[in-house]
Amino acid sequence: MSFISYLIKGISLGSVYSIIALGYTMVYGIAKMLNFAHGDVIMVGGYVIFTVMSMIGLNPFVAVLLSIILCTLLGITIERVAYKPLRSASSLAVLITAIGVSYLLQNLALLIFGADTKSFTSIIAVPALKLADGRLTISGETLVTIPLCILIMVLLTVFVKRSKTGRSMQAVSEDKAAAVLMGINVNKTIAITFAIGSSLAAVASVLMFSAYPSLTSTSGSMPGIKAFVAAVFGGIGSIPGAMLGGILLGVIEILGRAYISSQLADAIVFLILIIVLLVKPTGILGKKIQEKV
């Protein structure tokens, strides 16, 4: 019974990683860059909710909504100010800039909110579910996280495949120049991608801080890096890959923590990344279509 409980907990944590990984994978797919500041947007989302609820005292729905709006604007601003001017620069310059933005956000948060850990009150009011005569308890956070993750995944897939904006994202991801020739505004498409990724980061922050309620200025970096691992694991650039990679990673982490060693859990996660990259450098669902010339 405890195995099932760990498994469910793993899927739940993995769902949060999936939602964050979507931001990495979509931005990579379309702008061909790794936005290492993505994890820190989660942290910002956490602080927004914390501030709005504990300090101003508004209700949780307003807080979440505000957090999503602010994170979306933050994502668009980061792209506009830091990455857009580097569109034709080397990928190394973009990478260093992304790391710089990440440290900037962390240090701004440190400056504004101080170094002490803030405790986040869960805003998910769903009661825990007790099964099998109380031997299996599924927390309210889990009950919300897993279906929400599935919903996001379905909506996003439909959006990318069916909507005009989604199709323009696919086109830009494959061939920027050809996309321009079709009449697609590449800059706008990239901005929309950042907006979607950042709003998802805000959603992830609600779920994550409700389940793991301690908030510091570096709270976003570890989940951010793990979600990046998840994205690479599943095949970077692939939306179902981010989903699969995230969930596998969450399950591996929780099972590793339960059965192997809680200290080694993170090491196991990264070891698996290395093994996957050695065996299949494109990730589990990453594919390379052989193009005929």
Binding site: R167, A171, A178, M182, G183, N185, Q290
Partner: protein, 234 residues
Amino acid sequence: MLEVKNLQVYYGVIQAIKDVSFTVNEGEVIALIGANGAGKTTILHTITGLIAAKGGEVLYEGVDLQKIPAHKIVGMGIAHVPEGRHVFAQLSVYENLLMGAFTRKNKAEIEESLESVYKRFPRLKERKNQLAGTLSGGEQQMLAMGRALMSKPKIILMDEPSMGLSPILVGEIFDIIQSISKSGTTVLLVEQNAKKALSIADRAYVLETGKIVLTDDAKKLMDNESVKKAYLGE
């Protein structure tokens, strides 16, 4: 319809296009011929805004295209079939064609264009659900042309449509270009295959290292001794 005036284009410090001027009138098929590296592709890229010029003008129906963002140009009636086709490999044939109509709004009209593209290229209809990356080179060329036609262009720019195709397919592609022209679309054709290009063009410009060295009616150029020697292999 399209008038290029004293165009100057640089790649870094290297001047790729030196003072090039030419005109394309409505209904014409104009060929730009020249060897590899003469600057043919650069000219097309400058017209559709993929490269910025250093000097000169590209006038289309009196509007200077260089003042217009690249993604707005197709909506003005200029379609560009790029060299190497550049189809969206991971989208289906049908989705690629829809991308071609990206700037258009009227669903019924888009459907009409789709039908006419399928009529012109029956093979695309047979393979409409196949991923574009799995098509043969000739089919990809047809898809790139079909996709361009989906924007209902007034003028279509074609960059090396015969590249890498078997002689039979080359013939087929040129027949299609001719029929596109007959149906009222102006054509600006860039080709290394000068013989084929001159056979369907009204007029042609000969480009050498970024400069236009010769221009005349296509028929006359075919009989021109220096053109024969340099480009027609006679």
